[in-house]
């Protein structure tokens, strides 16, 4: 189905309910869907499971969701940073659950969810604390850990441009988790700098085909 074009970021996230699992794109500020995260903050949904590479920085975006105790669980690779004080406080208070996942396994688990893979053997993490309690197997002399897909209700993604059918292109390293999160979620919500007519994106250069995109909101902004 062609995506819904939402009137605002608030409109775009209006379907997110308490208890939802929400994938949030971005690595550092690159590809962070800040307007969608702010809208999620405003919409009031709580008891969320969030998947992001980090666990919020400084006093903005995901960090504020955590500060307000709206996130019951976070799945990420790198929570602790110099400015992750809201996460640190919630974690030390036992008020947020942390599932720590090596970054490549996080990416591959999201990819598996979008690709209908039930589980996969990865060498990353074998023999480490992060493999404890997980099934392992030695294949051709090399150790592997069985990892499972991360399915989600929603993905919040930032792309550069969408056409009217929802095809997306990204910009430089802001691509990062966007394509795999859009595919892993039941409902992908995408903020873009601009929407162009159908046919306005080269079919050879589409990164996320429109089949993965459910809601688009045009934010405009500073992309070059």
């Amino acid at each position: 189905m062609a995506p819904r074009f939402a009137a605002s970021a608030a409109d775009a996230v209006s379907g997110i309910r308490d208890g939802a699992t929400v994938l949030i794109g971005g690595f550092g500020n690159a590809g962070q869907p800040m307007e969608l995260i702010d809208a999620l903050m405003d919409c009031g949904a709580t008891d969320l499971t969030v998947v992001n590479n980090n666990a919020g920085q400084a006093d903005a975006g995901l960090a504020l969701l955590i500060k307000e105790r709206r996130v019951k669980k976070i799945i990420c690779s790198f929570p602790r940073q110099s400015d992750s004080w809201h996460f640190d406080e919630a974690y030390r208070a036992g008020e947020i659950e942390l599932e720590l996942v090596p970054q490549g396994n996080l990416a591959e688990r999201l990819r598996a969810a979008g690709a209908g893979i039930g589980g996969f053997f990865t060498p990353t993490g074998y023999g480490t604390l992060l493999a404890e309690g997980k099934e392992t197997r030695v294949i051709d002399g090399k150790g592997y850990v069985l990892e499972s897909p991360i399915h989600a209700d929603f993905a919040l993604v930032k792309a550069l441009r969408a056409d009217r059918t929802g095809n997306l292109v990204y910009r430089k390293t802001a691509r990062n988790f966007g394509p795999i999160m859009a595919a892993a979620a039941k409902h992908a919500i995408v903020q873009v700098s601009e929407v162009v007519e159908t046919g306005g994106i080269d079919p050879e250069a589409v990164v996320t085909p429109g089949i993965y995109v459910d809601t688009v909101v045009e934010i405009g902004g500073t992309n070059r």
């Binding site: 189905m1 046919g199 079919p203 429109g210 089949i211």
Partner: protein, 223 residues
């Protein structure tokens, strides 16, 4: 996305021709769906999709937004469908590699897949890849991926073999393509809905419900 259908039983006096059947399938596809039409007979369905249905066709060799078969100058050997027939590209199309294309199917992103079949069982098991005959060289292609990938798998087939035996069966005698995957069967004589509670006949064509029930080895209810 789900599809809609009339809940009352309908019938016509004559069996449906292949084009009528394709037209019926096309009309059942919900507006805005992403659809894979396999190869062979189901590809006829594309002739009856109306532009305002806004259906996007997927071909598993790496494309969304496939257009009609190419003719004359349009023919381009780099642009073919899964049946290796030259096709065209519609605005909004995209290309991707084979792993991404089958991930799209396997991940449940397509709304409907329409396939041919040798047999369908009353629980929706599908046989369409291999006759199992001695000496036959097996070939599977994308059949098993298509069978289990889409949100709904529909079958188009003749209801009876040349010997007059039902191809809708209690249990498959041909090798399995996918288990419990078929939700509808479109045939010249009837349209069947396969549901957890059993097989429902949505319409009959050139045969009465009672005659049909007498010829099939499967318990049927009337819609």
């Amino acid at each position: 996305m789900s599809t809609t259908y009339t809940s009352t039983h309908t019938s016509t006096d004559a069996p449906l021709g292949k084009d009528e059947l394709a037209q019926l399938v096309a009309a059942d596809i919900t507006r805005g769906s992403f659809v894979n039409l396999g190869i062979g007979q189901p590809t006829l369905v594309s002739n009856y999709l109306s532009p305002d249905q806004d259906v996007t066709l997927h071909t598993e060799n790496g494309m969304l937004g496939m257009g009609p078969q190419a003719t004359g100058e349009q023919v381009d050997e780099d642009l073919i469908n899964a049946g290796k027939i030259p096709v065209t590209e519609l605005p909004g199309a995209s290309y991707f590699h084979h792993a991404d294309s089958f991930a799209m199917m396997r991940g449940g992103h397509l709304d409907v897949c329409v396939l041919g079949a040798f047999q369908v069982s009353q629980s929706g098991d599908l046989a369409n890849w291999h006759t199992g005959a001695p000496g036959a060289i097996p070939a599977v292609g994308g059949a098993m991926d298509l069978a289990i990938g889409a949100k709904e798998t529909w079958v188009m087939m003749g209801l009876f073999t040349k010997q007059g035996e039902s191809k809708l069966v209690e249990a498959l005698t041909y090798p399995v393509t996918g288990l419990g995957c078929v939700s509808r069967v479109y045939t010249e004589s009837a349209v069947f809905l396969i549901r957890p509670e059993g097989v429902t006949v949505r319409s009959t064509h050139g045969i009465t419900f009672e005659e049909l029930a007498g010829r099939l080895p499967v318990e049927l209810t009337r819609a």
